[in-house]
Amino acid sequence: MTEGAGPASPAPSSKLVVVTPLLGALILSPLARERGWDSFPISSYPMFARGDLGTVNELAHVLLVDPDGGRAPAAPSLVGTPEPMIAMTIVRTHVERGSAAELCASIASRAHDARISAVAIEIVTSSFDARRYFSGRPDARTPLERVVHARCEVAR
């Protein structure tokens, strides 16, 4: 990538030349840390790296219960963020802390404000088999197991 034409330019500041190895060492430093270490903007990029994920996994998420008892996923915006992965983290954190009821109430309030037709909100942890989920069978998307941590009504 060197362009060698023309008279030689003066050497750049030695400070600049020293910066590059330091930057490189910083970017490589996560490799010397424990697996899964993560930060910003330096990272080991652990997302999608695990090899033992398998096909059956648990997911903490939010369901909208319609008047007929049917259930549908709640959009991340109802959880308080446009990002689905942040929504997932928020739900999981509340479930782990034992504050699912509190989260449920805030989502029900947002659902009311957004005039969503759901009659109730459920905070759940579902266990899914990813292979079965996409098999095309009529019950493919039914979870293997579901635990309801909180249920709250949406004000009409």
Binding site: P12, V17, V19, L31, S44, A49, L59, P76
Partner: protein, 289 residues
């Protein structure tokens, strides 16, 4: 300075056309500014979060609690202003470091609520390099900035590849790990009420395709250092890496917009040959002189 030290310094800061570094600086600045403005409300307004969810990362680790909403808005406004100045070449010596510091803070803060946005890492690192290069006063500074940005790009991909082998090992070589992730990512996006790729299910059901895509991923990530060998290899690798991100978008609906835009690879390319970019960069350069 010994011969070896001089050779190393020469490799770290080769002579390169100033126009190339100025165009790349302008592209990185423009992308970062547009990214900030396009997501301005999301990045400036953290009031939607509850304090208990605050998990500070990076430079925000100095905080023990979220900062006031007025402060996050003020930082975003000042940073956007610095971004416009940096991109257009106005008072670059002040605007560059201010934009870098502001964006580093804003993006770190946005990643401090339980989910780190890895798609922004390289953008911030490149911005730091060009903020440090300032006005790019000669061919050696130009070469330094372009080489430093290229090294940051290459090493980021290498780290991602090594992590996959460390954490996934043979499951990443066989395609099993990728298959599990593609299926699980699509499933959770459906159940989280978000967009998912309609291709995910088909890809996840094809072991041969998964193994091919896995090996391609590892080739791009672990093979990234070839981009530092020659300009031709740099261009070839840049194209392979761009296609890798197109594949991620198509199969997992995950948009790494910085590499997808091509700007992440600008330091590897003769971008100054694009007449429009050269004209715009010349104007910015005149303003910064």
């Amino acid at each position: 300075m010994t011969g070896v030290a001089r050779a190393v310094a020469g490799w770290l800061a080769p002579e390169a056309p100033r126009e190339r570094a100025v165009v790349t600086r302008m592209l990185v600045g423009a992308f970062a500014t547009i990214y900030l403005l396009a997501r301005f409300r999301y990045l400036a307004d953290a009031s939607r979060h509850v304090a208990a969810d605050f998990a500070p990362v990076g430079v925000c680790s100095v905080l023990t609690a979220p900062i006031a909403a007025s402060a996050t808005w003020a930082i975003a406004i000042v940073t956007a202003t610095a971004g416009i100045a940096f991109t257009t070449g106005f008072r670059i010596r002040v605007a560059g470091p201010a934009f870098f510091a502001g964006l580093l803070w804003i993006l770190s803060y946005a990643s401090s609520w339980g989910k780190i946005m890895h798609s922004e890492n390289l953008l911030v690192l490149h911005l730091g390099v060009f903020a440090l290069a300032g006005e790019v006063r000669d061919e050696r500074v130009a070469g330094w900035a372009l080489r430093a940005a290229a090294i940051a790009t290459v090493l980021g991909y290498v780290v991602a590849g090594v992590t996959k082998l460390r954490s996934g090992g043979t499951a990443w070589l066989s395609g099993d790990a990728l298959g599990s992730w593609v299926a699980w990512d699509a499933l959770r996006k459906i159940e989280l009420g978000s967009l998912h790729s309609p291709l995910a299910a088909r890809v996840a059901e094809s072991p041969a395709l998964l193994q091919g895509l896995s090996l391609y991923t590892l080739l791009v990530e672990l093979g990234a250092p070839v981009a530092l060998v020659s300009r031709r290899l740099a261009r070839a690798w840049g194209l392979l890496a761009w296609l890798f991100h197109v594949g991620i978008l198509a199969t997992m609906a995950i948009g790494f917009f910085y590499p997808l835009s091509g700007v992440a690879f600008a330091a590897l390319l003769p971008v100054e040959r694009v007449a429009l970019l050269r004209r715009l960069a010349t104007r910015a350069d005149d303003r910064s002189a």
